[in-house]
């Protein structure tokens, strides 16, 4: 059984702990700055075209979302025409049940997995484990997280929070329990660690007959699924087994094959800062004699239609999971991914998670506030998601909800005072007269604010009073 985000404290508490972890902050800073710089250089290389690709990417995704029913039906027909089977899952439980049933039908109890956010979101591995099926993660970082019974902390590099010596310890302690053990004398050289993973997983790849993946894109007109990766573990899972099951969020659709020419330029550059990722696999249904001979596509809703219904929040569904917003975010850089309490961390997680899950918990209500609204995330987004706009929109929703009664009462009072010139004048005079009585440290709930800030001095007279005295009669 692997770890879960359930029970993680709301962002302010989790972040408070995270920022005190100096090793975590060091790892994160180094990693995010490295990717950030690489991204900037390969994006600059495309000059003005970058902005055109960016707005075209946004336009394609917007258009798809506005006609999603049409494209879903078209995708279904294309995949089935090419020999695949399509299943629909309204929520996580249904998706897990479908995948479990499909795996059971193969008679296998071991499956290999390609790194996939969708299957993490529905906690598929746990559901399979309950049915006696072991899911083996094959992406190096996911393998590290799985062996360490840890949680991913980044969309692209899930083990970004761990250093090489920690990874070495995890390999030495855990690999033997899962299969081929780590070699004796394993060092913490990244080459040695990658080699240990290669040896550990190779037997598994050659033996396992069922694989589970997600997809970066699903092309409606051709029925093609697309997976971008680096290591080749994706290719192993997508081509060697007999049965392939892909769990894909309904927002992953693009209308036409030609649309890929946009995203194949923007995704790798935004994501790893490479001109192109080492491997991309595309497949359309099944190809006799090459690759899996049975292919199942599970189309996942799980809250996406709720996001779609919000005309401001809808843009979050454009996300192509590049993680550029995480790497550029000053908040993520200091807190890391676990503090967000969600498989989607960082700025995109702060808007996607509360919309997908609904803002019914403290964790989800806190997420729209996990930002300084600096706008860096919007700047780097390859599909131009206005994350700050959605954050503010979601804050409004939180504020309109049942919580934060004290804040609401204060705001109500402020509204009365600011709404009336006479009330404001009286309040300002009263404040001026009592200025020496104002404490340095506020009592009660407001005390938290003055723990880290100086309360501004109250002036002897307000600007309005000064204006009335000096300027009024002169013009």
């Amino acid at each position: 059984m692997s770890a879960t985000f359930l029970g993680i404290p709301p962002f302010p508490e989790a972040a408070h702990e995270a920022v005190n972890d100096s090793r975590l902050r060091h790892n994160l800073r180094k990693a995010t700055h490295t990717i950030r710089d690489k991204r900037a250089s390969v994006v600059t290389e495309l000059e003005d075209d970058w902005e055109r690709l960016r707005s075209e990417g946004a336009a394609i995704k917007n258009h798809t979302l506005r006609h999603l029913d049409h494209y879903l039906e078209q995708l279904e027909a294309s995949v089935e025409r090419a020999g695949g089977h399509v299943h629909w899952a309204a929520d996580a439980a249904e998706a897990n049940a479908i995948v479990t049933r499909l795996v059971q039908a193969t008679g296998e109890t071991d499956v290999v997995k390609v790194k996939s956010m969708a299957t993490q979101e529905i906690e598929l591995n746990n559901a399979l484990a309950e049915a006696g099926i072991t899911a083996y993660e094959t992406d190096l970082a996911e393998l590290i997280v799985q062996l360490g019974d840890d949680l991913p902390s980044h969309i692209l590099v899930p083990a970004i929070h761990l250093g090489r010596s920690q990874i070495r310890e995890i390999f030495l302690d855990q690999m033997a329990e899962w299969g081929v053990p780590a070699p004796a004398g394993l060092t913490d050289d990244p080459r040695a660690l990658a080699e240990a993973a290669r040896v550990h997983l190779r037997e598994r790849f050659l033996r396992t007959r069922t694989a589970i993946s997600g997809a970066n894109f699903a092309v409606a007109d051709s029925g093609t699924l697309v997976v971008l990766e680096s290591e080749g573990n994706g290719r192993m899972c997508l081509t060697l087994p007999e049965t392939l099951i892909s769990v894909v969020g309904i927002e992953k659709i693009v209308p036409t094959w030609a649309d890929l020419e946009v995203f194949m330029q923007t995704l790798p550059r935004s994501s790893t800062g490479e001109r192109m990722n080492p491997y991309t696999s595309t497949w359309t249904g099944v190809t006799p004699g090459d690759g899996p001979q049975e292919f199942h596509l599970v189309l996942l809703d799980n809250g996406r239609t709720d996001v779609l219904a919000d005309t401001v929040g809808r843009q979050a569904l454009r996300c192509i999971r590049c993680s550029a917003c995480l790497n550029t975010c000053p908040v993520y850089e200091r807190t890391g991914g676990h503090a967000y309490g969600s498989v989607y961390p960082g700025p995109i997680g702060a808007i996607l998670t509360p919309q997908l899950r609904g803002m019914s918990s403290e964790v989800d209500e806190a997420l729209p506030y996990a930002s300084s609204l600096c706008g860096a995330c919007y700047e780097v987004c390859p599909v131009a998601i206005d994350i700050p706009e959605v954050l503010v929109h979601l804050r409004e929703e939180v504020a309109a909800g049942p919580g934060h009664l004290g804040e609401k009462a204060m705001m109500k009072g402020a509204e009365a005072v600011f709404g009336s010139s006479r009330a404001l004048d009286a309040a300002q005079r009263a404040a001026g007269a009592a200025r020496n009585l104002v404490p340095r440290h506020l009592p009660g709930m407001a005390g938290a604010w003055t723990d880290t800030r100086d309360l501004p001095d109250v002036p002897a007279e307000s600007f309005r009073q000064w204006w009335n005295k000096h300027e009024k009669g002169q013009s």
């Binding site: 180094k30 258009h63 299943h87 190096l140 990244p190 192993m236 330029q265 190809t287 690759g291 239609t305």
Partner: protein
């Protein structure tokens, strides 16, 4: 099963009531972006990008290809190589390496693929700007597994197969075929973002870039 299908589709439609009923479902193709970015001579750019990915590259004249294939396999110490059964036999005229042909009808066993010293294939198209070689499963490229399991991939790219940018390549490719886009050897950056070449795919990618004779 059909009930979930209807449920999801009904939710999607209910979520989109703001979209005018007469808004066209088909989007006019505009392509405001460039086909390529003027980064220089396509073959030189491709060579540069491939080297950047730590692939081995050689520019070879067409009339020397057989000798270059022989030399490359010799350097590698490759005695037995997998080959797609539609590959040009002339390429192997000067090598003594044993060829193990593979096809969709008569595939090599996985364990055998794991034991060969390498694989030799052609390609469908190559993209200069991104250093990408695309295989489309054609008779001279073969099943996806043969370029994945062996640790060494020798790929022959003819000059006329090289395009500048991604859009040109996408237009030439047939999505009905299973495609593999390769940009350098297998690599990971999962450990403190240090790039390590070679995890599960071939650790060595060697490209013979063939100039017309």
């Amino acid at each position: 099963m059909s009930t979930s299908r209807e449920r999801v589709l009904a939710r999607v439609r209910a979520a989109l009531t703001d979209v005018p009923a007469d808004e066209p479902v088909v989007r006019p193709v505009e392509r405001p972006y460039a086909d390529s970015h003027g980064m220089g001579d396509a073959l030189e750019v491709l060579e540069d990008r491939l080297r950047d990915y730590k692939a081995l590259v050689r520019r070879v004249p067409a009339d020397r290809l057989a000798q270059e294939v022989a030399d490359a396999l010799e350097r590698r110490g490759a005695k037995a190589v997998a080959v797609p059964d539609g590959i040009d036999a002339d390429w192997f005229a000067r090598t003594g390496a044993e060829r193990r042909p593979d096809s969709r009808d008569r595939p090599l066993e996985l364990r055998e693929l794991d034991r060969v010293d390498g694989v030799v294939t052609a390609c469908a198209v190559a993209i200069a700007e991104t250093g990408t070689i695309v295989l489309d499963g054609g008779p001279d490229q073969g099943r996806r597994a043969i370029t994945l399991v062996p640790d060494y991939h020798l790929c022959v790219v003819r000059a006329e197969q090289v395009v500048d940018g991604v859009p040109e390549a996408v237009r030439q490719l047939d999505p009905a075929q299973p495609l593999t886009w390769i940009s350098g050897p297998s690599a990971t950056s999962d450990i403190e973002l240090n790039r390590v070449e070679g995890v599960h795919g071939p650790r060595t990618l060697e490209v013979l870039l063939v100039d017309p004779a």
